[in-house]
Symmetry: C2
Subunit: 351 residues, 2 copies
């Protein structure tokens, strides 16, 4: 990956250049120094290590992460979601450029389960985010989407920490507005931004239940030309709807605005909203409190995932589950009795 501006550590650049020829690995120290010097090549390489399923590489990745921890955390982590077609990547490009041009270091991480089957928006994003991708203050990285949902979440969380250690101050984590990923992204970000199209109806079908309640701000996109009136109407509708939701414990009152990425309207307003949010939750302690809670949450989730993984890997357990599921559906047993049999099978198999 090349950047228009030379990184401030030329030794690292030389090192990478030389290493590529010899296919040597960088050492832990070199990786950490490179990240700290905001070297994109080293950052990308470190993220690849953290994402790796190869044991030794993954172990080195964890060491890099551990060494970077003291330098992480100084950012605002922003989750961005919305159904395909809402104009997410166009918005992210404009929003990212707005920040980058004002000297902010911006990282864009994208979780996109559909990218695996090459029909997703990642490719589109890459094409459309061309201007942002080459900006010296920006860094774009799609998250590898192979593996379990929990695995993807872990990789994204750890990538956030690495980009922070590299000095990025605004981390945009993009997700597609379908499936599980919004809840996960919400659980690893400070601010959750939901993009919506004007004309509530079919467009909403793709939004998972509960997503709207997680939003710290809703942006009605494509508020330009003939759409302006419809967007303003949608804005007041959503404002009313948000009004019905309970107050958030961090004292933040969710906002609804209209934006036009093509006319670059609403972009600065969006940043103002996020800045106000950041000031509020920093001063009242809710930001740190939320991050602590998120970390503890993920720790417990990972423990549960590992326990289940061990359980699921038990020889013959799937057959037992299928058997009990059939008995349940035919009314021959209860959920509790079926579960008890499965657990007994598991315990016997372990002996």
């Amino acid at each position: 990956m090349s950047t228009p501006k030379k990184p401030n550590n030329e030794a690292i650049e030389r090192l990478i250049a030389n290493r590529k020829k010899h296919t040597e690995s960088l050492t832990l120290d070199q990786l950490v120094t490179g990240i700290r010097a905001n070297n994109r090549g080293v950052l990308s390489e470190s993220i690849t290590l953290v994402e790796s399923s190869e044991v030794q590489q993954a172990a080195l990745g964890q060491e890099v992460l551990q060494a970077c921890l003291p330098y992480s955390g100084n950012s605002i982590r922003i989750g961005i979601t919305g159904v395909p077609g809402v104009g997410k990547s166009t918005f992210i490009e404009e929003f990212g450029l707005f920040l980058a041009e004002r000297g902010k270091k911006v990282a864009v991480l994208a979780i996109d389960p559909s990218s695996e089957v090459s029909k997703g928006s990642i490719l589109g994003d890459k094409t459309r985010m061309n201007n942002l991708a080459v900006h010296p203050n920006a860094y774009i990285r799609p998250t590898a989407t192979s593996g379990s949902l929990g695995g993807v979440a872990r990789k994204t969380r750890e990538t956030i920490l690495l980009t922070e250690a590299a000095g990025f101050e605004v981390i945009l984590i993009e997700t597609v507005g379908v499936g599980q990923s919004e809840t996960e992204v919400h659980s690893m970000t400070d601010f959750f931004l939901l993009l919506m199209l004007a004309g509530a109806g079919d467009e909403l079908q793709g939004i998972k239940r509960g997503i709207m309640e997680m939003a710290d701000a809703i942006l009605i996109t494509k508020a330009d030309g003939e759409n302006v009136k419809k967007a303003n109407l949608a804005r007041s509708e959503y404002k009313n709807a948000l009004h019905l939701f309970p107050a958030k414990s961090n004292e933040w009152i969710p906002r609804v605005e209209t934006v036009s990425s093509s006319e670059k309207r609403g972009i600065e307003k969006t940043w103002d909203i996020i800045t106000s949010f950041n000031e509020l939750v920093t001063s009242n302690g809710a930001k740190n409190k939320n991050r602590d809670a998120q970390q503890i949450y993920w720790m417990h989730e990972t423990v549960k995932e590992q326990l289940l993984k061990e359980f699921t890997a038990t020889s013959g357990i799937q057959e037992e589950i299928t058997k009990q599921s059939s008995a349940l559906k035919s009314g021959k047993t209860t959920s509790y009795q079926a579960a008890t049999k499965i657990i007994n099978y598991y315990k016997n198999a372990k002996r």
Copy 2:
């Protein structure tokens, strides 16, 4: 428990009467026959067995349940929630009486975690549901709330099956509109009824996020006297809000109505709505599909609960979790690394 009408099985009545003197247990056959004869005493005793933490009693309870399974399922299971003060018990009494007087056999099960500390509404319910409690077609039973949330959920699910085997056709499962219990009740019922007060605002604070989206119908309560106008306004507000939620896969479009329990208005309408719902989901197969999914869901939840229980019972594991949580909060480790250490501790402890 006495009922105004004698049950149709006098032999069972005699048996219970005699047994009480000798503190003998009824046999499995006697219990099942008693339940099938709609004998409230035997039903209550069987529920107590299912709820028991004493091993032998619990085992007998499971046998009774197993024997009752072929006779269960012929009902509409209705979950009812709303914040304290919304008029839930008054509504349930009027609604239950309306059905009981039309010859429907109605069972009311109440999950109320607050009853343990004797400040809950169960006592209030009992007092206020006097008319329903003595009606020959009605049966009221609060669910024992000791034990884990999962335990309470299991007891309620199994109580539903027993009351169905006893011939009850309408099962009302009441929960308090705070905490976890709504989601659980939603996962064991066919129809979810949310009671709301007019004047959206502070009253909503107690409603957990996402509850509104689970509702198949919202009733605005206390729509009488000076409240009528406010209730009608709330009705259209909620209708608009529900409109923003995605369509349900069972093809049901949630309804919003106003009710007055004191003036007995909206009660019949509510039953009409539930009847329409039941006809729709019976004919399109969604009712059975949903019940199957619920059973499988609870089987998996119980398996997870058992796995976690075994994990949590590991000697020293709480200390390890506390240690790792502290390391997390002070920024010395990541969620993944902390979880890995906890899992390693667990695996070593098991060896």
